[in-house]
């Protein structure tokens, strides 16, 4: 089974489409990933299945890939230990999850922003521009900067898992540039499509980080690294203190505005 475990998940699913359901049954949502470049063995390790669950998954994979054959099911060689799924995250990683909550609150307002959006209205365009400000200064310069400039530095930058998340950050930035271009050129369709696409991308991205990436990273970090991460994040929090307050208030005000309007 070594051969299949060392293949990227996109190739594996192309050869054996039946594995899509198997992976899904074990809570492995990588089937929807547009990149699919992570190796199957890395995906299994990152998802932190219990020993019994992992054996059942591997047996299910063997049944599909080698039907009718008696195959020795290997245990995934672990680079880090297992932890219970509900183990609390370390303080710096928990801080990233809290920032996700603010970002998700904004993303949830995008349908309402778009419902009211009129490219002819200066006020309407101004609100979208404020939204771009939130994305660029809170979600990107503050939150994603913590990930890209600090957190990811503790891991192999060439790993497919890290690369796939970085590519999603880049996709997000492209959408934001397109939104801005649409506002400047008066192209309403460009604004609507890209703001919607941005919301969909980020919701999925955040879900994967909260449920899979962050817990995996947290299990991998030593206590010394947690302390270093905590100190660097505290420094960034202090640098961005005014910005954090500004954009947290922006989201709260936007929520109140839409609550008044739509009830």
């Amino acid at each position: 089974m070594e051969k299949i475990l060392n293949q990227n998940v996109k190739e594996v699913l192309k050869q054996y489409p039946a594995l899509e359901k198997v992976l899904g049954d074990f809570g492995i949502g990588c089937v929807t990933c547009a990149l699919g470049s992570c190796m199957l063995k890395d995906i299994v390790e990152v998802h932190n299945l219990g020993p019994e669950q992992e054996t059942r998954l591997m047996s299910s994979i063997a049944e599909i890939v080698y039907p009718g054959e008696k195959v020795e099911v290997p245990a995934i060689k672990r680079t880090i230990g297992r932890k219970p799924h509900n183990a609390p995250l370390s303080p710096p990683i928990h801080r990233l999850v809290e920032e996700h909550m603010v970002i998700k609150r904004f993303l949830s307002l995008i349908p309402k922003l778009l419902a009211d959006f009129n490219i002819q209205s200066a006020e309407s365009k101004s609100l979208i521009r404020e939204g771009i400000g939130f994305i660029r200064n809170f979600a990107d310069a503050f939150h994603h900067a913590k990930e890209e400039k600090v957190l990811f530095g503790f891991f192999d930058q060439n790993s497919e898992i890290i690369i796939s998340f970085l590519k999603e950050h880049i996709s997000g930035r492209s959408h934001v540039s397109a939104i801005e271009a649409g506002l400047i050129s008066g192209n309403e369709k460009l604004v609507r499509e890209n703001l919607s696409a941005y919301a969909d991308l980020l919701f999925e991205h955040i879900k994967k980080e909260d449920e899979i990436l962050y817990p995996w990273m947290d299990r991998s970090l030593t206590d010394t690294q947690v302390g270093q991460l905590f100190a660097k994040f505290t420094q960034i929090d202090n640098e961005f203190k005014a910005s954090q307050e500004k954009y947290t208030t922006f989201v709260a005000d936007l929520e109140k505005r839409f609550q008044k309007k739509h009830g």
Binding site: A87, P88, L89, S90, P91, P92, H94, R95, D223, T224, V226, G227, Q228, F230, A231, T234
Partner: protein, 156 residues
């Protein structure tokens, strides 16, 4: 040597190379400093500067067979008894000094499962709360037979 030998500071770090984890009948000590008792330590001693600190209840080292290898290696230490020790206000001040003056990296509190030990974690939290510079606190609860009952980071 003048004064109480028990409280004279010794810095062993330079004599310690990186220990190789080898299972032998006689294991090397991972202690890199003296003193260790929280009343006796100077929180600004060189071996606390920027380091990971283990704050351990007195009994933990006896209960946990692998304490040196699994918890002490590469770290600095202080020990205390939250039940029997007096002058615990000083403890809080020293923990605060670790954070603000020594700028320690992390604080790992190890306590026994007995209820009186919980006070050590409370002291640690209080000390960090009073500090301007915060550090992450991890705590481990050790069973009487040396088993690990709980280990997690304190919510910030």
């Amino acid at each position: 040597m003048s004064g109480c030998p028990g409280s004279q500071a010794f810095d062993f770090r330079k004599e310690k190379s990186e220990s190789v984890a080898v299972e032998t009948a006689k294991l090397a000590s991972e202690l890199r400093q003296w003193p260790v008792q929280l009343h006796l330590i100077n929180p600004q001693a060189p071996y606390y500067q920027g380091t990971d600190v283990v704050l351990t209840a007195d009994c933990v080292g006896y209960a946990l067979g692998s304490f040196h290898q699994d918890y002490l290696r590469g770290k600095s230490i202080a020990i205390a008894c939250p039940k029997l020790d007096e002058g615990q206000d000083t403890y809080v001040e020293k923990i605060t000094s670790w954070c603000d003056d020594a700028k320690i990296n992390t604080l790992h509190v190890l306590i026994m499962q007995v209820p009186c030990c919980g006070g050590l974690l409370q002291l640690a939290k209080e000390g960090v709360k009073k500090a301007t510079r915060k550090v992450p606190i991890k705590f481990t609860v050790v069973g009487l037979q040396g088993d690990i009952l709980q280990e997690e980071w304190v919510a910030a």
